[in-house]
Amino acid sequence: MSCNSAVASFVNGQAVPGLRAEAGTEVMSYRDALHWTMRDALQRHDSVVIMGQGVDDHKGIFGSTTGLAKEFGTDRVMDTPLAEEGMTGVAIGAALNGLYPIQTHIRADFSLLAMNQIINLAAKYKYMFGGRFDVPMLIRLIVGRSWGQGAQHSQSLQSLFAHIPGLQVVMPSSSQTILDTYPAVIDRYRGPVISLEHRLMYDLEFYVYPISIKQEIDPFGSRLVRQGEAITIVATSIMVLEALRAAEHLARLADIQCEVIDLHCVSGPDWDLVMRSVEKTGRLVVADTSWREYGVCAEVCRIVAERNPGCLKTPVVTLGMQPAPCPTAKCLEDLFYPDLRQLVDVLATAVTGKQGHGVPLPDTQSMADVYKRFKGPF
């Protein structure tokens, strides 16, 4: 497999436990990891059905389900009517009667039509009936970004879901996190799980452990993906990759060592891991894929403020989308999302305590330029 050079710069030669490069000698794209877990689930569990709009077509949810309908039949890899609420309800009913449904939404935005079933029903079934029912199901939401996705094809809705008790919400940031999470969830967890996959990562290649190496990893754990002393970066999804790029830049040019935590399970992160790190470094930057207001950024700040605000040597800095719907013009979209340059700048400022920190900043490059393989249109 060929490696995109920009991507290779942060997967290549880095000891990143999340990416597990130390033992991860094989290369696998995010898309292929998704496809592998989907096929594996269908193969190992008769109860698994994949249902979503277009799961059986030639595009196969951006390649993550391609060919599976042919291999397993269209009654297991099932195209659905355009009925997000109804189909989520159907999945819940199926889960209550012995199936394990995997649902797909090619954009997270479309799941908003299913909110009633997800929040009022799936999230409540276990508790509201005193533990007498389980609703084991996986809902895969794909977050879009760049190439003019615009206001309704780009929302990263993790905080909406993570706000609701009863839902587990994960945001895989690499091929390995997919391989660690999906099979474990499907095998062992009996409740509803929402996974927010990032469209821009589908084409990226990561080092992974050989599939044959089975490891017991908590699918709902957070991951320490880089060790450092100077500052803690808590990140989600594709922002984990940005954090690693920034960390590498600062290590190379300014000898600043950043610690990076991939929150991964935003509904129940490993707060002890976060606190240990912040207590060690005394500095915190939170980088999330969504709006900062009332979201992951706000939640991380709540935890630090409640548990040990005194450990902070400098104010927390949060990075996320600008407080507006997503624009389509590239010049505006580039301002809408935080970029690598901004991330390096806030990190250097926080560590040195100076605006004029003198650390050279990387060229301004939008994520779409960096992850060149995403050429749209969707």
């Binding site: 109804g86 309800g89 276990k126």
Partner: protein
């Protein structure tokens, strides 16, 4: 009057539900039951007739108005009262109240307080039955108002498309809260359902225990053998206010005459002699259930965060 064994069995079941709910009305002012109650008084024959030929393994998905279905499907009366009283021995450990009764061991798959929201669950359960090769029949129960929700349409389409063994059961009491059907619907429920291409049935005499049971028996047998969906509308009448223990004929949105006419047909109003003979045994069972509920403990603090994920 038909005093066949079948009638007597059905009558017993229906009277039991009526007396349970009448007892809830009596108890309500004492404030021990701290939960909104949507009573089925007047509608008992629907639940009893529908459930008569269902097996324990057949599944029923219900609404907030489901005391009748819970009991008709075989849910424990003692656990129901304990649930109403918020006790740990309740069918949902005191977390459901009146609106979310469930008894999965007998196929009562829960009730939701969000209108129409369990209709697709019935369809999904039927999908699982088909895929896993079970001979189950699944029933989705909903009111006339629920047919106005989009998810009802989505559910009908999917069930017909995939030919799933599900009964869409519309319990039509002509009202959604205080709004009459004609103020809400520009379509005819039966014509609309028929347009999806599934067999539709209408039972106008929703008070007639034997008629409902016999018709439903045929329908359930049909679904069990054909494995295809059907739609059934049963006309019925709600005697009490939408939610709560009272009557509300004075409020003017419906006429008392309607009610009096309906009661003329209702065996639970008319069969006075029969009621007299079976009532004592049922009251004894109710007393025991209430004793169980009242003497059970409230949930301990650990329950607050149990069963969240």
């Amino acid at each position: 009057m038909d005093y066949s064994q079948k009638f007597c069995d059905l009558f017993f079941q229906a009277l039991r539900i009526r007396l349970v709910e009448e007892r809830i009305i009596e108890l309500y002012p004492s404030d021990g039951i701290q939960s909104p109650v949507h009573l089925s008084i007047g509608q008992e024959a629907v639940a009893v007739g529908v459930c008569r030929d269902l097996r324990k393994t057949d599944l029923v998905f219900c609404t907030y108005r489901s005391h009748a279905f819970y009991l008709a499907k075989g849910g424990s009366l003692a656990e129901m009262f304990a649930e109403l009283y918020g006790k740990i021995t309740g069918c949902a450990r005191g977390k459901a109240g009146s609106m979310h009764l469930a008894a999965p061991d007998v196929g009562m798959m829960g009730a939701s307080a969000v209108v129409a929201s369990t209709i697709p669950h019935a369809v999904g359960a039927a999908l699982a039955a088909k895929r896993l090769g079970h001979d189950q029949v699944v029933v989705g129960v909903f009111g006339d108002g629920a047919t106005e929700e989009g998810v009802y349409h989505e559910s009908l389409n999917f069930a017909v498309l995939h030919r799933l063994p599900v009964v869409f059961l519309c319990e039509n009491n002509g009202l959604a809260v205080h709004s009459p059907q004609k103020a809400r619907q520009g379509y005819d429920i039966l014509d609309h359902a028929r347009a999806y291409g599934l067999p539709v049935y209408h039972i106008a005499e929703g008070y007639d225990l034997v008629k409902v049971a016999d018709t439903m028996s045929d329908i359930i047998q049909r679904v069990r053998s054909t494995r295809e969906p059907v739609f059934v509308e049963i006309r019925t009448y709600r005697y009490k206010e939408h939610v709560g223990p009272g009557e509300d004929f004075v409020s003017g949105y419906r006429s008392k005459e309607e009610w009096l006419d309906w009661k003329q047909q209702d065996p639970l109003e008319q069969q006075v002699a029969l009621i007299k003979t079976i009532r004592p045994a049922i009251l004894k069972e109710i007393d025991e259930a209430i004793y169980f509920a009242m003497s059970s403990p409230f949930p301990p603090v650990e329950e607050l965060l149990r069963d969240v994920v």
